[in-house]
Symmetry: C2
Subunit: 227 residues, 2 copies
DNA sequence: CTACTTAGATGCAATCGACATCTAACTTAG
DNA sequence: CTAAGTTAGATGTCGATTGCATCTAAGTAG
């Protein structure tokens, strides 16, 4: 059997957050060719000496580029073809992460690269992206919208303590539709992955809401039915 | 930025079918090292000249090994680490295909390789597999069981024309539980992805059932609720 | 102390689910 | 030719769930 030249492979991470009521994605402006000056997903190469596996490589890339260790990250999909990179046939292992927007401060210029949150309009950002990154962003947004329907994913977009109305608003903003308050509360209650934070509330000019946090050890919950 | 040696990447396909009432996976006995003599998933290398993208490469591998061209196939997940292959840090793009068992005839010895269907017990086959292929098979079975709950995937495991009771049996065999006949028929009816094949039935010593086929242009249907 | 706002609980009609039953259409035994 | 057996397909019932509206609670602001 003939051996073929292995394609060049990279890791790219789609980091999504919710800021000012809109989904946003973290992009970096590229300094090097190809696509120098274009906005692109944070990414890098696998370090065989350092990375135990793909997930570890993705966590390292994310932390190196943004300083963030995210509460939620999973493999999105691999993308590979002969067109996405002018240098030849390449493939990328795309990962998908969610962060609370106030959990991270952008380290502008940390490594002399420009970093920014870009708002998602539909499934895209309003600037051309390097490589096939526009397609990868779209896939991440699709994955998020789809999983939000039946999981507790949006809890990762909030700070550690939050109220049920906060959480419901996140669901509504991602899905773009209103949800029923009582049905929502019932789902969250029977999923039993939240616990009240005693005594604390949150002030406003109205009745304060109970604060909750995710129970220790609970990852993402899959609901029996759609939200 | 330092360039790192790109890991060796491969493509592996988990081809599942339903035979004699059980899920089965297509395996090949390896002729070459590493893992010579062990059973493994059909796989291969990316051919940059020949394969437009990852999906095309997976389709080529599938067709080369089985002769089947257009079943259901989607990317499963990428697996990569420093342990799975004794030769070093490698990664594989794992794909997941469903074929009707009578749609293919195994080409035993076509390329001097032994090919066989192995029954899935739980999420495994009862033989050790090469590399991390046992883990990949388990992931494919999990994906199948999960998607069967809310999609029309099982229709791809049947010949082009089939009856509703046939289809229900496939769901039941994959999920390992009985389903309600009337609820099942209602789901299929409102999903409106099947059309009756006129006049034809299927003989037995009882009332014959209506034959259906998937409407042209309908891929996999996602149901509103779980089956 | 009243108006206003949002949290959280409750009520109700329509729908859906699991489960049982009933009828239809065919083969086979006699 | 008829009765028994089997499976397809439709219908009925009842409790649970859903969508939608309403009601009460708890705060702030004037």
């Amino acid at each position: 059997m003939a051996e073929f030249l292995s394609p060049l492979v990279t890791i790219d991470v789609v980091i999504l957050t919710l800021r000012e009521g809109h989904l946003q994605v973290l992009l970096m402006r590229r300094g090097a060719e190809p696509f120098a000056g274009s906005w692109a997903l944070p990414g890098g190469y696998i370090h065989p000496e350092e990375d135990a596996d793909l997930d570890a490589a993705a966590r390292r890339v994310l932390h190196a580029k943004t300083g963030v260790r995210t509460p939620f990250m999973e493999q999105l999909q691999a993308f590979g073809d002969g067109q996405r990179d002018p240098r030849g046939w390449t493939a990328t292992f795309a990962y998908f992460a969610l962060v609370a927007s106030d959990a991270m401060v952008l380290k502008e210029g940390a490594n002399a690269e420009e970093v920014a949150w870009w708002q998602i309009k539909g499934k895209q950002v309003e600037t051309p992206l390097a490589f096939d990154h526009a397609r990868i962003v779209a896939a991440a947004v699709s994955r998020l919208r789809s999983k939000v329907e039946y999981t507790s994913l949006p809890a990762h977009l909030l700070p550690p303590k939050f109220t049920l109305p906060d959480l419901q608003k996140v669901y509504e903003q991602i899905l773009g539709r209103q949800m029923d308050k009582s049905a929502f509360r019932k789902r969250m209650a029977e999923a039993a992955f939240l616990e009240p934070v005693t005594g604390e509330k949150r002030p406003a000019s109205n009745r304060p809401a109970q604060l909750y946090r995710i129970k220790r050890g609970r990852g993402t919950i899959f609901f029996d039915r759609t939200i």
